[in-house]
Amino acid sequence: MNQWTFVTAAYGLAAIATLGLIAWAYLSMRKAEADAEAVKRRP
């Protein structure tokens, strides 16, 4: 197998893991803060 295949696989995996972690953390934060705000505004 071409050496670049291994390099591409490793970098692709790193991109998926890093972007996945950031997206998950961001969405969790946005959802939790929006839920807390909604309950705060509830009469």
Binding site: V7, A17, L21, M29, A36
Partner: protein, 239 residues
């Protein structure tokens, strides 16, 4: 540290810090990855696969630094009862587990063309796999304790005991000379890697660390918002 025990004060700092860390981390990562993929020459022995170094080493560093942070947060929680320590521990664990898994996966991909095998029960590889299992155990324990309304003391004890694995990972290449190469970069002895190959590594190390810190801050903010929400719901039920 106790100055930031107040969640409101912590959030005031964390909100701008998250954006800055993300921006700086992305810039450094792009520069380091560009340098590592397009500028540095191939290694005389490993050829192009040496480029995996620029993501494998930061992933290993963050896998280990993540657990060291959990251990520090555990001490802070058990000794000084810092109110944000358990929150920090819970936030670091998924990020640390991600990078420990990434270290194992990229190491395996690097090992196939270099060693001729995807996996070997070598001291470094096995102790790193144990670290990943420790992360999964910590995540399960900490979330179970949180759901039961506990303070997270069991998770903190687990975090402290698990830190025993860190020196084992570090010295594994000296204690068991099997497949993984020895230490290439040392604070006291410098580096055995050629400078023309080494320079993108600090960029990706700092870049990944900034991204890791940003993810931890966002997860801490999510945890604090959930705590606030639960407190308000409990209060409204009591009224």
């Amino acid at each position: 540290m106790h100055g930031y025990a107040n969640p409101a004060r912590f959030l005031k700092l964390a909100r701008p810090a998250t954006a800055w860390l993300l921006g700086i981390g992305a810039l450094l990562l792009l520069a380091g990855i560009y340098g590592g993929l397009a500028v540095t020459p191939p290694d005389y022995l490993q050829g192009e696969t040496v480029r995996i170094l620029y993501i494998h080493v930061p992933a290993a560093w963050l896998g280990m630094a993540g657990w060291a942070s959990i251990a520090a947060a555990s001490i802070s929680q058990l000794v000084w009862r810092h109110p944000l320590a358990a929150v920090a521990g819970r936030a670091v664990a998924p990020a640390g587990a991600t990078f420990a898994a990434l270290c194992l996966a990229t190491g395996s991909i690097w090992g196939r063309p270099t060693w001729g095998t995807w996996w070997e029960w070598d001291g470094r590889l096995t102790s790193m796999l144990i670290l990943l299992f420790l992360y999964l155990g910590y995540i399960a324990l900490a979330s179970a304790e949180r759901e039961r309304g506990g303070e997270g003391r069991m998770a903190a004890l687990f975090g402290l005991v698990g830190a025993v694995n860190l020196p084992i990972i570090h010295y594994s290449v000296l204690w068991w000379r099997t497949l993984h190469q020895g230490q290439s970069i040392s604070i006291t002895q410098g580096s055995t890697i050629a400078p023309e190959l080494l320079w993108p590594l600090p960029l990706t190390m700092v870049g990944f660390t900034a991204i890791f810190a940003a993810a931890v801050l966002m997860l801490m903010r999510a945890d604090l918002a959930r705590t606030k929400l639960e407190a308000r719901l409990r209060r409204s039920v009591a009224e």
